[in-house]
Symmetry: C2
Subunit: 316 residues, 2 copies
Amino acid sequence: MVKKIVAGIDIGGTNTKLGLVDEEGKILMHQTVQTARYPDAEMFANEISSLLLSEARKIRNSELCGLGIGSPNANYYTGQVEFAPNLPWKGKVPLAQYFKDATSLPVAITNDAKAAALGEMVFGGAKSMKHFLFVTLGTGLGSGIVSSGSLVYGHDGFAGEMGHMIIKDQSNRLCGCGRYGCLETYVSATGLRKSYMKFLAERDKRAEEPPENIDAKYIFDRAQLGDRDALASFEYTGHILGLALANASALFSPEAIFLFGGLTKAGDYIFNPTKISFEKNLLKIYKGKINILSSSLQESDAAILGSASLIFNEIK
Amino acid sequence: MVKKIVAGIDIGGTNTKLGLVDEEGKILMHQTVQTARYPDAEMFANEISSLLLSEARKIRNSELCGLGIGSPNANYYTGQVEFAPNLPWKGKVPLAQYFKDATSLPVAITNDAKAAALGEMVFGGAKSMKHFLFVTLGTGLGSGIVSSGSLVYGHDGFAGEMGHMIIKDQSNRLCGCGRYGCLETYVSATGLRKSYMKFLAERDKRAEEPPENIDAKYIFDRAQLGDRDALASFEYTGHILGLALANASALFSPEAIFLFGGLTKAGDYIFNPTKISFEKNLLKIYKGKINILSSSLQESDAAILGSASLIFNEIK
C-alpha cells in the first residue's frame, strides 16, 4: 500500500524547519535551513521544493500529497505572507503559489500558532475535539481557535488573535502591534519579565542580575528558590491568563484549552494560578467542565507536524 | 408556484410572538399570546402548533416548511430550553421535540439574540456576509456571532455570550450570572443606569427623579438637554462597548458589527463614542475596515423574522 506523506514547512525569522510526515504523525525526515539565506521568496520556494521532492522520492512506497506551511503573517485565504517584519521578503509575497508552481501539489499556508492548533487536532490531544482553544506562550502569545472542527480565520484570514485582546485599559505596556495593554504584554515570556521587574520596583528592589540576564528561565529558577517577586509574577501572569481564557470560553464554549510553548515549562507555577483564575472567572454553566491542558505535541516536532496538518486535515 | 413559508416563534417571559413568514421576509400573519397561560410546555407546543397549522392552511398556494423558535436558555444542539428563570417551565424542557411531535415538521431552536443574528443574515443588512457580530442592547446584552456563515454555538450550544465577558477585574457590578464586571453590567440599559447613578454620586449629586423613574429613556432625554452626567454615561458606555468590540474583532475578524435593541434608539449618543473607542482600540490591520452598523431589522419584526431564519437558513 502506498503511504501518504506530507511536507511540513515552518518558517521563522532565523530558521526554516522542513520535514516529511506520515499519516501517523511520524517525522520521516527533517532538516533546518537559514531563512536569511534566501533573499528572494520564489528562489526559496524553488529550492525548498526540490529538496523536499527529492527527499520524498527516497521514501519507498510513498506519495507526497501536499505541502503545509506555517509562517508569520501568513494569510490562509490568499496564500500570501503579508508584511512580515522578521522575514527577508518585503510586502505581500504569494508564497503558496510559488510552492504550487514548483511542485504541482496542493499547498496550504497559515501562521505558526494556527498550524500548531491544527497539529493538536490531527496528531495531539484534541483528536476527537471540534471546539478548542490553543495558546502558545513564547516571546509573545499566539493562538489558534478551532470552532466546529475548523480554524477560525474570519473575514480577512487573521482572526483568532487572543494575544491582541486589550485586557487593561490605560495600561502602559506597549505591544508590538503599536497599542497598549494587549494580553501578550502580560502573558508571555516578555510579559512575565515585565511583571517581575514591576514587582521588584514596587518594593524598591533591584534585580540581582543585570536586566539583560532576566528572562523567563531566570524567573522560574528564582521562583523555585522561593523568591517572592518571582512567585508573584507567575501568580499575576496566571491570574490574567485565566481571566482571558474564561472570557474566550464565554465566546467559544470550547471543550478544552491547550497551552503550548516555552512558558509552559514552568509547570505548576504557571498552570496553577491560571486554572484557579479560570475557574473563578468562568460562567457557572462551564465550571469544572473545561480542562486546561498541556499540549501533547513535542515542542521540537510541533512546527513541522502543525504545518503538515494543514494538508492532512483536508485529506483525512 | 407553491410559496414556502416558515413559522417564527419568539418566546419571552411575558409574551410569546408567533408569525408566518415568506421567503422575502414578509410577515403574513402574526399574533401574540401570554406565555404564562401555558404552565405545561407540551400543551404550549400543541396549542401553538395547531394555531399555526390552521393559519398556514388559510394562505393559498403555500407550504409550511418548518418552525423556528427563539427562546431564552435554548440549546440549539439538544432542542431543549434549559433552566430558564423567566419561563413557566422548570428544568430541561424538550421544546423542539414537542413541536416536532405536534407538527411533523422540521423544528430548530436557539436563543433570541442568536435568532436575531440569523435574521440579519437572511433578511437584513448581513445578507452577503459570512463573518459578523450581532449585539442586542436591551435590559441585558445579548449577542450572536456568525463565523464562516454559521452561528458560533461551541461545544455545548451556549457560545457567543459577549455580554458575559468580564471586562473589569475587581468590579463591584453584580451580573445576573452571579459574577462581577460582565460587559452587560456596563453596556445595556441597566448598565447605563448604573453609570449615570455613579457619575451623579461622584459629584455628590442626587438625581432629579426618584431612582425608579430613571431608565435609559430618561437618561437619553437628559442627554438631549445637555445634562453632563447623562452625556458622560453614554460616553462611558460607548467607550467600554467599543473596546469590547475591538477585542471581539481580534478574535473573529468580522466584516461588520450590527447593533440592535432599545439602547440603539439613543442614536449618536451611543454610536459615536462606541465608534471612536472601537477605532482607537482596533488592531491596525482592521482600522477603517469594520463598520459598526444599526441593525436593519425593525424591532417589532426582528423576533419573528429571526426565529423563522433558523429554518430559512437551512432550506435556502
